[in-house]
Symmetry: C2
Subunit: 232 residues, 2 copies
DNA sequence: TCACATTTGTCCGTATGTATC
DNA sequence: AGATACATACGGACAAATGTG
């Protein structure tokens, strides 16, 4: 029913006990089935009066968390990550140039404005800097690109968050985002691609510096993090 | 412990009852925790004497299933899928040319030989044709590319399996795989890229024919499939 | 602010099917 | 072929959380 669209986000399923009697099985069986749906990103469980299993759509989150698991297992090096990110984002940007529309541009402009406001207050615009690239992918209007980029960017953001704050980095990133957005608005495809490549090259360079510094100081084993960090 | 490498595939965890008493919780709580690990691709549950929760590594499978969920929800059109597949695979092939080694070539040769053997017997080499592209990605030696391509190819294969058998298509695919492999062996990068592009263009064209034919005949709603089809 | 109904979260005990030795 | 170990499933019960009146 979820696949066919009969159940859309916001719909509320019957309670566990009701589902159990409807299907003629025990509550534990229903619970594990609901747990599967929850982990697949199709429902969330809310306690209390108006609670119960509620249809949601957090599959992109689930997908990104799967990628994060691979990263956390140490099977992906920072070099592999940045290489793949750069190559794929370049390809996606070509389609973004083809398909971008007014609302995309507005969202991107809003993003850099918010980032600049934060920087004015002396705090780094980490979330906005990450979000900028997700918005770029969305503007390509290809859901596969969106899903892939969302996952890769999430891994990059996870790695970035492991390295403390860096106001200067966020400032430079925001500036370069502004330039890329400007090229997008003006339809300067070649310039936009060059700017993106330079931008990613710089960011990746800083990442590699960071990771070698970190490797030199301590053996950060990242066991403090939860398994499912952010279900926003 | 899985992330840090203390638990590697093949390790066996204590039984549910033992884990429950170790952590001071009930069995159902342990069961749901194990279910989470199972769905995340970290363990499988085996019944019987030497059974119990066993550490495995099927995260790529979990990842691909997440993508499949998005596809099944109808959020990805066949056009978006083939476009993204073509663009990303072209990028990956560049890295495959850089990093391919003897064992990769051997695996690819083995693949086309098996495919030809099947075709000789008059049966289509569906699995081998799919596997060829996964092997190409593996030869890039970039785990992000591997994960992304594995997922995309799985979606393509899922869609392909919805359209009945087609011996001629499999024959042509195998032939073109042979040519691409030949270019790889000889290091003819430009030729290889051209061959891949032509190959994907043809396959995608057939897919679009198929899907328009299908749309004309019946409203296939794909509800017969299981939620978690292949946990090989 | 307080009580109440609803629903999930967790627990225990028990029974059964099943794979392995 | 039988014993064993284990997951799977059921029913009943209570605690905790959450929204409503």
């Amino acid at each position: 029913m979820i696949f066919s669209g009969d159940l859309t986000p916001g719909s509320r399923l019957p309670s566990e006990t009701e589902l159990a009697s409807q299907f003629g099985v025990g509550r534990q069986t229903i619970r594990e089935a609901l747990r599967l749906l929850e982990l697949s990103g199709f429902v969330i469980m809310r306690k209390g009066g108006a609670g119960g299993p509620i249809i949601v759509d957090t599959i992109l989150n689930t997908l990104a968390n799967s990628f994060l698991d691979i990263f956390r297992m140490g099977r992906i090096t920072i070099d592999e990550l940045t290489t793949a990110r750069t190559e794929i984002e370049k390809v996606v940007l070509v389609y973004t140039f083809k398909s971008i529309d007014e609302s995309d541009i507005h969202a991107l402009q809003d993003n850099v404005l918010k980032a600049k406001a934060k920087l004015e207050d002396g705090i780094q615009a980490f979330e906005e800097n990450v979000q900028f690239h997700k918005l770029l992918a969305k503007a390509s209007k290809n859901h596969v690109f969106v899903a892939v980029m969302e996952s890769i960017i999430t891994m990059v953001a996870h790695f970035r968050s492991l390295l403390g704050a860096d106001l200067a980095l966020s400032e430079r990133a925001t500036l370069e985002h502004t330039q890329i957005l400007d090229a997008l608005v003006k339809g300067q495809k070649k310039l936009g691609l060059e700017l993106l490549e330079k931008h990613l090259l710089y960011i990746d360079g800083r990442f590699k510096e960071f990771s070698s510094e970190q490797a030199a100081t301590a053996s950060n084993n990242d066991l403090s993090g939860t398994l499912r960090p952010d279900e926003s």
